[in-house]
Amino acid sequence: MASVSVRDLTVRFGAESILESLNLDIKAGEFLVLLGASGCGKSTLLNCIAGLVDFEDGQIFINEQNVTWSEPKDRGVGMVFQSFALYPSMTVEKNLSFSLRNARLSKSDINARVRRASKILRIEKLLLRKPSQLSGGQRQRVAIGRALVRDVNVFLLDEPLSNLDAKLRAELRVELNRLHKRLEKTTMVYVTHDQIEAMTLADRIAVMRDGIIQQLDSPITVYNVPVNRYVAEFIGSPSINMIGGVIDNQANQLTFQTRGITVDLSRYVFSHKVRTTSVTLGVRPEHIHVGESRVPGVFNCRIFVDLVEPMGSDTLIWATVFGNTLRVRLNGQSDVQPGDALSVYFDPANTSLFANDTNLRL
């Protein structure tokens, strides 16, 4: 069991500041996902934890030990890379045992560990092959195995699935999930720009943008209660509907108003005091339902269908309501046609309001 703490981490490459006083606490045994667009500094943060980057300022603790000045090998971390980074001149077996040989373990110990790891990852039959003779999925298994043989406390994974095709990615994702359940004592820090990986694997997600952690919460919280507009738009596919408008307060009755629409906000749970009237309403496409609701406070309206995208398992509808574009996601298949008018409703309790000046959730 090992926790990881990053304290006031500052990283600069030349004059460019990549991370600025970043703080992050990862609990022992937790599966933490760093999620963010490409170039936001996820790999840099991970490399700092691994000890592969000389940083300007700050400290790193692993298992409550200050490892700021320790070599990568002395930190008890194993790492899996996006490009797999297998040693091309070594067989799978030699790849797996490289760290053990560097640590001068006994032959029998090395063999036992290699056998155990290759059994878990089902690569026993590949031990004598060279990396060039493996498929992408097999390569990534070997790369994971390389971290597995070492019995590390912390697994660092840098976009381990992004070089695989979609089907393999889904398979390995499930396997990684199983692996984490199996290695329940191992802390995992997983970098990705893929929100599905983040949602399905994480105990907690840290959403990053431009070197700053925007939100650190459970996947469901990040999805339901995004702290700001960026997080709301980054998570969820198809992405959240954003409708600009104003908040109106009449007789203590708060409403959201925009062209032709008035949404009763009595069911909305505000987490901050409203200090501005200019706001944006975020509604997830899957929270809009066809039909009419009689529940007080639920918003009903008629929309006009522009485009229908059938996806088999569900159907995405592009529609307009008083000049606002709306994406609606219907479960299953639908015979809605472009040009149709539909009655739909959504519950304001499932929406998010963002102040336009700060972009923060209200």
Partner: protein, 300 residues
């Protein structure tokens, strides 16, 4: 239906080729002429080295030998005199080998470690060192001849084989380091990081990860160094004593000897002997060389 029928009736088989196109004549004609231009002198040398002196005086330059004799080869190898020594080219050959082996190994080893360190381990001043090396690659050797004499004298290596080894190692450094640096820079940083996490240090990564990947580059570097050092004349004549002269210098002294009759057959044989090693290297490694060059340049 119509379309598929017309396809069925059409001509089949591989696309026909014409042998005597204008382009082919131009390409093969040029190649033939260039080949003759280069091969003719070689032919004359071989033929002449196998003739006796009387036949050379009377015979035609291009005519094959009437009576083949290996005497000129024997004489060139073991009997011809230069200065006070009369043991033929074998002395120079021995010297050249003793210069070649340590110079090649040392220069390539040091340059590969340099290239690896400069590309994979950023340290303070690594950019400066690299710039200095690049400049070094473009300084004409002549300007450094005399300063190097002084340096060698000061460290007591002037006129010795080891002095020349040092000179070859130093002068080969810029270009070899550049070649290795470019190759190692093309190896992904993630591979290097993986090895560090796996507990390999500077030398562990060099020997276990980098070196096996760089084999083609080592082949290229070896060929460059072997032929370059073997063919060197200038450094050999400046920095060694007559007893330690490399083969090229000795060959010059044989061919340009002013006393006695000019023995063309012995001169030709001596020249061929001194060219045998680079020739063999090229023949044996032609394919490897090209493969190494392309892999080094594509990746670099």
């Amino acid at each position: 239906m119509d379309k598929s029928n017309s396809l069925d009736d059409g001509p089949r088989g591989t696309k026909p080729h014409r042998a005597l196109t204008r382009r082919n004549i131009l390409v093969y004609g040029t190649l033939t002429i260039v080949s003759i231009y280069y091969l003719l002198p070689l032919y004359v040398m071989i033929v002449t080295s196998l003739k006796g002196m009387p036949e050379i005086r009377w015979g035609h330059l291009l005519a094959p030998p009437l009576e083949i004799t290996f005497q000129p080869w024997v004489k060139a190898w073991s009997q011809v005199c230069t200065g006070l020594n009369c043991d033929g080219l074998s002395r120079g050959f021995g010297n050249s080998v003793r210069i070649l082996i340590p110079s090649t190994i040392l220069s390539i080893f040091i340059a590969s470690v340099n290239g690896y360190a400069l590309s994979k381990w950023r340290f303070k001043g690594s950019e400066l060192i690299f710039t200095v090396l690049i400049i070094g690659a473009f300084i004409p050797y002549q300007t450094m001849l005399y300063p190097v004499v002084i340096i060698l004298r000061e460290i007591g290596l002037m006129g010795s084989l080891w002095g020349l080894v040092l000179v070859h190692t130093v002068f080969g450094m810029p270009i070899l380091t550049l070649i290795f640096r470019n190759f190692f820079a093309s190896i992904p940083q993630e591979l290097h990081n993986a090895a560090r996490v796996d507990g390999a240090g500077f030398w562990g990564i060099y020997f276990h990860i980098m070196l096996p990947m760089a084999v083609p580059v080592f082949v290229v570097a070896t060929i460059l160094q072997v032929t370059g050092i073997w063919n060197d004349f200038l450094f050999g004549v400046v920095y060694t004593e007559p007893a330690d002269y490399p083969m090229t210098v000795q060959l010059n002294n044989i061919v340009n000897a002013v006393q006695g009759v000019k023995e063309y057959n012995v001169n030709m044989a001596a020249t061929l002997i001194s060219g045998l090693l680079p020739l063999t290297v090229y023949f044996l490694s032609g394919k490897l060389f090209v493969r190494g060059l392309t892999s080094a340049s594509i990746k670099g």
